[in-house]
């Protein structure tokens, strides 16, 4: 088990390097002098010289990359052009909000999704099943920003139950989590339903029925457990999707977080912040996928074999 974990961790390194290379290249791919993309226009020649020295901007490209990466790993992601603060500070301020949003959305999708999927599988083709499947279809085809806007209109404005925007109190989390979560519910419910229906057909389940075990117990204690496996698989693959949903939703709800930080920096052409937040988001996606893989391996020995 440990060797699996270590092997997977090592596999991450080349991926991380590749991603960091792309992110590093952004400043050089954007039109304009890289120095202008890292400093504000009013900067004095002394400030420019200091930046050149710090990042080796007069050296060959691969050396610049090495310097940048070296600093990044130590936690120095440069300084924001507009806010004039270290990028690392900005990320530290915003990361907890994104983690909270993503974490709760994940929990919500998982729990509600599994419940919905199990419910419809048990009552297969009943009216509950049909309604759930329709809601699932709607949930996955509506753009998240529209869903967010509708939520704001209905719950925050008309009913006044929750705040319109920001992250000033705990109840400001509810609508954003719902917006991301509902999309995730669709996915999880669909997979759970299919997995449970397929598991139902298996021999050992027939045996349980023959033994006289109550159908409810069979469904929840035996079938569901087996059905969880593909659900975990799909969730671990789609952690990135949850993060993506978070970016849009943070923007719509004006919540602080890595997503808002990234989009604002993109609009402001504040490239040090763009690079820093992209790097953080990339790491988050990779760690999330790793976690999913580990969970899968814990549940299914075959996965462990596959990697070694």
């Amino acid at each position: 088990m440990t060797s699996f974990f270590i092997k997977r961790l090592l596999l991450l390194i080349p991926v991380f390097l590749a991603v960091s290379m792309v992110i590093f290249a952004i400043v050089h791919l954007v039109p304009g002098d890289p120095i202008d993309n890292l400093l504000s226009v009013n900067s004095s020649p002394e400030q420019k010289a200091e930046l050149v020295a710090r990042y080796g901007l007069d050296k060959p490209l691969w050396q610049q990359y090495a310097i940048w990466l070296g600093k990044a790993v130590q936690g120095d992601l440069g300084d924001a052009i507009i806010l004039k603060r270290p990028v690392a500070d900005l990320i530290a301020m915003n990361l907890p909000h994104s983690l909270a949003l993503g974490g709760f959305a994940l929990i919500f999708s998982t729990v509600v999704g599994i419940a919905a999927g199990a419910f419809s599988a048990i009552n297969k083709n009943g009216w509950i099943d049909r309604i759930t499947m329709t809601m699932i279809l709607l949930g996955s085809t509506v753009p998240s920003f529209w869903l967010g806007l509708l939520m704001i209109m209905l719950f925050a404005v008309q009913l006044g139950w929750f705040p319109v925007s920001g992250a000033r109190s705990w109840d400001a989390l509810v609508l954003p989590v719902l917006t991301i979560g509902l999309g995730g519910v669709a996915l999880v419910a669909r997979v759970t339903r299919v997995a449970m229906i397929e598991t139902e057909r298996r021999d050992f389940v027939m045996m349980l029925h023959a033994k006289g075990v109550p159908p409810r117990q069979i469904a929840l204690r035996h079938v569901l457990r087996h059905a969880l496996q593909p659900v975990i698989t799909i969730l671990s693959l789609r952690i990135g999707w949850i993060l993506g949903g978070a970016v849009t939703v943070e923007f719509v709800f004006a919540r602080p977080g890595l997503g808002s930080l990234l989009i604002t920096a993109l609009n402001q052409r504040d490239y040090p912040v763009v690079q820093g937040s992209l790097l953080m988001l990339a790491i988050a996606v990779m760690l999330g996928t790793l976690l999913g893989d580990v969970l899968q391996a814990v549940m299914d020995p075959r996965v462990r074999e596959r990697i070694t």
């Binding site: 806010l83 404005v157 319109v164 925007s165 920001g166 109840d171 004006a254 604002t264 609009n267 402001q268």
Partner: protein, 524 residues
């Protein structure tokens, strides 16, 4: 019994906000929303900054404050006088004033402060001062290079808020972002550009001007000022109680706010203009005919009535209506005239194409139209795009973040037209935006004309009295208009709205919502 997770979550999500309501803030805290034109101000450095926001006068005190009737009231200065020829000024300073870092305010501060403007964009405010002499601890004397009838008016602007010399020099380049130390009624606790500023009351404050009723520390102990670029979000925040005051109200929502029972709406005369600078240094706008055509394509009346709900006034020149220098020769005012615009473009050789865009020598009359984010800017820009198309000028819109757009103008000549605004109640704004010394930004028109420079020099430096100044600036203004380096669009009024969680004085003193009024605002 089986509770589904869903029902538990729902129950939880109702309990949580309920418990927060129980802890309703009893502290003297308030949240305001910055006027939308101030969104994106990059720092609180009044000496070097080119864009400051409404919170600046809360952190810094000024020497004098100007009231709506044009009179000046002392703040950090208690008395002042000048010699007959205007070549020398004497100011008596208020005793007992300290900065937020404990440093004292005295004549030495002024002696440090005035020379600091040299080399900055705001140099024009002190360029007439030859030397500063500290006669005694509380008296300073300015010896002038030339008379400056505008001196007091400049000193009343937020750009002449006085920072603590010690803090200013210590922080170097990052002054104004991570620290900002003044002597004002509020201290800066934190500042996030484009997001919010958090201020706490200065308990040592005891030197408000006579424009304020409250002569001690402000009644609000913690003031958060948020920057919200989208009008609907700001409106929603006020209606749902998320904020207590909107320092500028989007005109779309004015009727609803006026109808709301718990909201009071107030109005102040306008202090600025929306306009469209025209980049004179690139084709096609190096041709004055094309410039005039673009300027005449703008329908000020339609914009006023439909985008701004009829609130405010049309703008036909560069100055606000309350300034004498705005009363130029009526023939020079710029108004909607699409027939003449079409005629000028035909004369200039731009032939109308089948797609509605003109072309000349195979080059289409397609220009770049820049603006910053913010509901009103985006809307006015889209209307102007359509109005330009109606005379055959195609425009591509690019929207920049308000914190960086001024840097974008500085970068180069890629912009051809832009939609922007300014907020300044003095005719020297013409010098600010059109002087050949400031190409890029603030001179977005990239205009450097010898005759204009000559008129500028006379107006800025050779006016000995106020009347002469008015005459000189009117002449300068008229020349600027005749060259069509910009197109006027709209003159807003200042509308503000607040809910019944705070009490605001009936009469707002001064020309804007600034420290002199805000110290009097109480939380109910």
């Amino acid at each position: 019994m089986r509770y589904t997770i869903t029902s538990l979550l729902l129950a939880g999500s109702i309990l949580v906000p309920a418990s927060f309501v129980a802890f309703a803030a009893s502290a003297q805290e308030a949240t305001f929303v910055m006027p939308t034109v101030d969104v994106g101000a990059p720092s609180y450095d009044p000496i070097r900054g080119s864009k400051l926001n409404a919170a600046t006068t809360l952190i810094y005190d000024r020497m004098v404050i100007q009231d709506a009737d044009q009179s000046f009231h002392g703040q950090l200065a208690t008395e002042w006088s000048s010699t007959e020829d205007g070549m020398s000024w004497t100011f008596k300073l208020r005793p007992g004033v300290t900065f937020h870092d404990g440093e004292p305010f005295n004549a030495a501060t002024i002696a440090w402060w005035v020379p600091k403007f040299a080399g900055t964009e705001n140099e024009f405010m002190t360029s007439a001062i030859a030397s500063v002499e500290a006669v005694d601890d509380l008296t300073v004397k300015f010896t002038m290079k030339n008379p400056d009838p505008n001196l007091l008016s400049n000193m009343a602007s937020s750009f002449m808020g006085i920072p603590s010399p010690k803090a200013y020099d210590a922080a170097g380049d990052s002054y104004g972002i991570t620290t900002a130390v003044g002597s004002g009624p509020f201290k800066l606790e934190s500042f996030t550009v484009g997001q919010e500023t958090v201020l706490v009351a200065n308990e040592a404050y005891a030197w408000a001007s006579d424009l304020s009723v409250n002569q001690g520390p402000p009644l609000i102990k913690k003031l958060t000022i948020r920057e919200i670029a989208e009008d609907s979000t700001a409106f929603l925040e006020l209606s749902t109680g998320g904020v207590d005051m909107l320092m500028s109200v989007p005109t779309d929502f004015l009727p609803r706010l006026e109808a709301a029972e718990n909201v009071t709406v107030g109005q102040l005369p306008g202090t600025g203009i929306f306009y469209m600078p025209i980049n004179t240094s690139v084709t096609p706008f190096d041709d004055i005919k094309v410039r005039e055509a673009a300027a005449l394509a703008i329908n000020q009346k339609e914009i006023l009535e439909n985008i701004f709900g009829g609130i405010g006034a049309e703008a036909h020149n560069f100055l606000i209506g309350s300034l004498l220098e705005s009363k130029v020769d009526p023939a020079l005012n710029i108004s909607y005239n699409p027939d003449r615009a079409n005629m000028l473009l035909d004369e200039a050789g731009w032939v109308m194409g089948s797609d509605g865009v003109r072309a000349k020598d195979g080059v289409a009359l397609q220009v770049a139209l820049w603006t910053q984010n913010g509901t009103e800017f985006k809307r006015v820009t889209e209307v102007i795009q359509a109005e330009l198309k109606a005379v055959g000028i195609g425009a591509d819109i690019t929207i920049f973040d308000s914190a960086t757009i001024n840097d974008q103008y500085r970068k180069g000549t890629e912009h051809q037209l832009a939609v922007r605004n300014y907020s300044w109640a003095n005719s020297d704004i013409i010098d600010w935006f059109f002087s050949g010394q400031r190409l890029g930004y603030p001179n977005v028109s990239m205009w450097n004309d010898p005759k204009a420079e000559a008129l500028n020099a006379v107006a800025m430096k050779e006016s000995r009295t106020w009347e002469e100044r008015v005459a000189n600036f009117t002449a300068y203004h008229e020349y600027v208009l005749s060259q069509f380096v910009f197109a006027p669009i709209y003159e807003p009024v200042q509308v503000y709205a607040y809910d019944n969680k705070i009490t605001v004085p009936e009469t707002i003193r001064g020309t804007r919502l600034q420290s002199q009024t805000i110290v009097d605002i109480a939380v109910n």
